[in-house]
Amino acid sequence: MPWDRNQMAARAAEELEDGMYVNLGIGIPTLVANYVGDKDITLQSENGMLGMGPFPFEGEEDPDLINAGKKTITELNRTSYFDSAMSFGMIRGGKIAAAILGAMEVAENGDLANWMIPGKLVKGMGGAMDLVAGVEKVVVVMDHTNKAGETKLLKACTLPLTGAGVVDRIITDLGVFDVVEGGLRIVECAPGVTEDEIRSKTEATLV
């Protein structure tokens, strides 16, 4: 059975090691925080914070304390605040160990598209282009196929890129994939999912 959102997040959490500084994108990646367990992980919010805490209790929301998704959050005893130039200095400078992001498309060469669908949807890249360019390990978490049932693991992206050759690992509802020489390598299948099923739902070369 394919993984659900929470199982994908739990699987993504396994990518994180003790002591890491990590940036989580919006959507499923946000859920990863719920599955880090005992590991000492520090979450970065690219609007200027390290050590992001959970949502505030009702009535304790602070308009001066939001995450990159514009949601109210809280601070921890390790928290530090800084400006956007320093925030992206640490991202671009490779200080963040891992970024876990959603995607619209990933190509077998590690190309990533997640910021616009020409003529249809324009949100902007926000900090995603900086993250994929600067962060040590880029992990994509997304459904294997889109709502129309079409694969999101392609030979080449059709949408405008967020970054070229930037993805290291992909976690979908069907399995885990690494970007390697010549294509994608299946690292793991979700329980009950076969390699054949994955192959039938993947356009990218599987090596």
């Binding site: 200027g48 998704g69 956007s84």
Partner: protein
């Protein structure tokens, strides 16, 4: 050296010009210069180019300046929260120069630090790199981005002293310091002007040299997405 003004209108007097480039602090609705935006709306100045990560939301923050069509061009990384912004962009009424968020912040800081250009890996191989100079360093390809030199910076801080030393609060700091740095003139609104000497010199986030005019005022500080957990979850 008299930097404190009574109102946002007074603080902007003689500065606003049609077609000028304004750098604005804030991220979403957090740490935005609400009062100065309102004064710019009131002034009717037009054909503005505004460098700001977002454009507020419909009807609040920089969204107000989009509603009144005073903005000709935005330099931003994200338009997602703003239907009117997206509509004006898709219809071609508004120019939009997409900047990756970190590139935008660094371009502002660079302008303020006398750096007209710098190289970054961000955006290499994407539409962002089109038309930009490419250069290899250590076997990797980078693109050149240019410093932003704004005519005016509008900034929101938490506290200031009358010499313009600024302190920000939590994530409301965000783009405010880099935006402040890159303006020929920087006007700041704060929640409180405190007496000289009451800010610890080691805790000042932005020294007064970057600040030309200051006003104190009441801020709505609207929350864009109020997310909470129940106490039982703790």
């Amino acid at each position: 050296m008299q930097k404190v003004y009574d109102t946002a209108d007074a603080a902007l007097e003689g500065i606003l010009k049609d077609g000028m480039l304004i750098a604005a602090g804030g991220f979403g609705l957090c740490g935005i210069p609400e009062l100065l935006i309102d004064a710019i709306v009131k002034s009717g100045v037009k054909d503005l180019t505004v460098a700001s990560n977002n454009a507020g939301v419909d009807g609040f923050g920089l969204g107000k300046l989009l509603d009144t069509r005073q903005v000709k061009k935005m330099m931003s990384s994200y338009v997602g929260e703003n239907a009117e912004f997206m509509r004006q962009y898709l219809s071609g009424e508004l120019e939009l120069e997409f900047n990756p968020q970190g590139t935008l912040a660094e371009r502002m800081r660079a302008g303020g630090a006398g750096i007209p250009g710098f190289y970054t890996k961000t955006g290499v191989g994407t539409v962002i790199a089109e038309g930009k100079e490419h250069k290899d360093f250590g076997g990797e390809t980078y693109i050149m981005e240019e410093g932003i030199f704004a005519d005016l910076s509008i900034v929101k801080a938490w506290k200031a002293d009358d010499t313009g030393n600024l302190v920000f609060r939590k994530t409301a700091r965000n783009f405010n310091p880099p935006a402040a740095m890159c303006g020929k003139i920087c006007v700041v609104e704060v929640e409180e002007i405190v007496p000289r000497g009451s800010l610890d010199p080691d805790h000042i986030h932005l020294p007064g040299i970057y600040v030309h005019r200051i006003i104190q005022g009441e801020h709505e500080k609207r929350i864009e997405q109020r997310t909470t957990r129940k106490r039982e979850e703790a």
